[in-house]
């Protein structure tokens, strides 16, 4: 099994952020920000040095928690420091982006990394729809069409025009073509049946984030059966799990940290006003949302979001066992790890990476 380090590039003073999304740019201090990216890149370098196989980047917007709105820019910078690891974009939020532009970015990145690119496609969390004003109801369709268009743009040797449902381009001729032919590895990050089936039907990999092992297994079981029906068997590296991790020298230290975190009642991730979150959800599902029926509470009470969750917590042996469960039950061949937890600073992340390389990686490389 292989390990991937998520280069989140979190703003080092993110603990001071308000409970909100987006985070107002007023919280940005240039000096702190420059230092944060330098620290983040140092973490990637150490991760590669101690044996992580992939370094991944993820598109997220308007927040310093994962501060890579344009992940290929960050990936290009890290790729010049890290010369061995695969560079995984996990991934582009396709409903938000011009697919041809994404194809151009990916083609270029595969060239400057000399064929080390892993491609990832995903729809994004509900708040992401608001970044560029995309109608949440169209996210699924834009994702599906975007994947088709990008793959065609990266593989078609002749200029073509595209008559889509959401995209129309009369000239597409992406340059440079990828180094990896016919196409770099592609991971579709999703939990939805239609997109899982798309990955299976098109012989693409699958990525799942932050779910418990039993929930992920329901998805990978479907994926495996649809792959079989499509006449192929995914390689281990085509099933990727992204999870949050807190690793300590002992289980007790890790548990103490986790209990402290819980006691401090951490803010929800991607915190939004309940009215906005409800309107996004209604738009995504096609249901009605009538603002007039909402009775407003306090400003604080109106904020909703995702509860912080950790996939892997413990000492090295415990974490290795937790990761092995995903391998054994779900067929995961690559675990993509998010180390930058709340209240964990750069120095502690570096310690965790070093500990992971020394104590955990040798174990998971065995299965």
């Amino acid at each position: 099994m292989k390990a991937s380090y998520l280069g989140a590039m979190g703003y080092s003073e993110r603990r001071n952020f308000p409970i909100a999304w987006p985070i107002p740019p007023a919280y940005h201090d240039p000096e702190t920000s420059v230092r944060s990216y330098q620290e983040g890149m140092a973490e990637c370098e150490l991760a590669e040095e101690i044996g992580f196989d992939w370094i991944s980047f993820s598109e997220h917007h308007y927040s310093g928690r994962i501060a890579t709105g344009t992940p290929v820019v960050m990936a290009a910078a890290v790729a010049e420091r890290c010369k061995k690891a695969k560079i995984a974009i996990l991934g582009h939020l396709l409903p938000l982006n011009n697919p041809v532009r994404v194809a151009e970015e990916l083609g270029l990145l595969d060239n400057i990394t000399n064929g080390r690119l892993i491609i990832g496609f995903l729809r994004g969390t509900p708040n992401e729809d608001q970044t560029y004003g995309v109608n949440p109801a169209e996210g699924r369709g834009r994702l599906l069409e975007g994947m088709d268009l990008i793959i065609k743009a990266l593989t078609e040797p002749q200029p073509f025009s595209w008559e889509g449902r959401y995209y129309q381009y009369r000239t597409v001729a992406v340059w440079p073509r990828p180094v990896q032919q016919p196409l770099p590895p592609v991971i579709v990050a999703t939990r939805s049946d239609d997109t899982v089936k798309y990955a299976a039907d098109n012989h693409l990999g699958l990525g799942v984030s932050f779910l418990p092992v039993d929930e992920m297994a329901k998805i990978t079981d479907k994926y495996q059966s649809w792959c079989q029906a499509a006449g192929w068997q995914p390689e281990p590296e085509q099933i990727v799990y992204r999870g949050s991790i807190y690793l300590s020298e002992t289980d007790k230290q890790a548990q103490d940290w986790f209990e402290n975190l819980t006691r401090s009642k951490p803010a929800p991730a991607i915190a939004m006003r309940s009215t906005v979150a409800g309107a996004i959800d209604a738009a995504r599902t096609g249901s009605e949302f009538d603002l007039r029926n909402v009775v407003a509470g306090s400003a604080q009470g109106d904020i909703v979001g995702l509860s912080p969750s950790l996939s892997f917590v413990g000492g090295p042996d415990t974490v290795a066992k937790q990761i092995k469960a995903f391998h054994d039950r779900c067929g995961v061949g690559v675990v993509d790890l998010f180390f930058q937890q709340p209240s964990v600073d750069h120095r502690d992340v570096m310690k965790e990476i070093e500990l992971f390389g020394r104590e955990v990686l040798p174990q998971i490389n065995e299965f």
Binding site: Q158, F160, S161, E163, Q168, R170
Partner: protein
């Protein structure tokens, strides 16, 4: 295969010509630039020609052996059938025109252009089956078993459309016999070798999910025809007119209007003037 129940659009005026021993039916509507539409397997679809007739003079010619025309045992080759089509066009069209066809009829249009290049101002090939390179050929239409499987291969979403389509089995058999006899589902090496002779602007349109002809075949036309464009229609199979009519109409009508300059963006993105 033709679908039973296909009726001429009310906009079109029907007429007949005697050519090469055939009584050939054609329909005409509209004014403006001249568009000749060769009709083979009609599929019961008329949205494209109806839309084109709102802006152009459209002449839809029913190829002998298809639709209501009866059995064609006379034509010996695609090239010969194309000569017959040219003779019809010579009698009903003055000057140059845009020539188009779908599937087998696109192959006839290709041959007509090769044989009578002086007549054709622009060529539009919709899901042509003339070029079938073996190395990129998927499961072929020809090898499919039975009408139902063949029909499914023509659609990206057969489950959405099949129930609404009524097949006339006798017509299906008769048309397929002619298509097979004239090698309409066989790679046309002679036509491929002559693609470079086509000097007029040419648009080749394929559905991204065409399972009867790999859309990658489009690149062969692009590589060998000097002034040509490829257009790919997303979420559509061989029968784009059934599944994405608005996209097909938009691409084709833009090409009729602007030819190779159809790549120039003319729509406005201005939100608040």
């Amino acid at each position: 295969m033709t679908l039973a129940g296909h009726q001429p659009s009310g906009l079109f005026k029907e007429d007949f010509l005697e050519v090469d021993g055939f009584r050939i039916r054609y329909e005409e509507a509209g004014q403006g630039n001249q568009v000749v539409l060769l009709e083979g397997e009609s599929w019961g679809l008329s949205k494209l020609r109806d839309a084109l007739s709102e802006r152009y003079r459209v002449l839809a010619i029913e190829l002998p052996g298809f639709g209501k025309s009866g059995t064609n045992t006379i034509s010996k080759s695609l090239a010969e059938l194309a000569i017959t089509a040219s003779k019809v066009v010579e009698r009903i069209v003055e000057g140059k025109f845009t020539l188009m066809g779908t599937s087998f009829a696109a192959n006839v249009a290709l041959w007509q252009t090769l044989q009578s290049p002086e007549m054709v101002e622009a060529l539009i090939l919709i899901s042509p089956t003339a070029i079938l390179p073996a190395e990129i050929l998927p499961k072929t239409f020809a090898s499919a078993n039975g009408q139902k499987e063949r029909l499914r291969l023509l659609l990206a979403h057969p489950d959405d459309l099949l129930s609404a389509m009524t097949v006339d089995p006798d017509l299906w058999s008769r048309e397929q016999e002619l298509v097979l006899r004239l090698k309409g589902q066989t790679h046309d090496e002679v036509a491929e070798a002559r693609l470079g002779e086509i000097k007029c602007p040419t648009l080749t349109v394929f559905g991204v999910n065409d399972r009867s002809v790999a859309p990658e075949a489009a690149r062969v036309y692009a590589e060998k025809i000097p002034n040509s464009n490829i257009s790919l229609v997303y979420d559509a199979g061989h029968l784009m007119e059934a599944e994405r009519p608005e996209a097909l109409i938009d691409a084709v009508s833009n090409y009729v209007e602007h030819r190779e300059t159809f790549i120039v963006g003319r729509g406005s993105n201005l939100i608040n003037p």
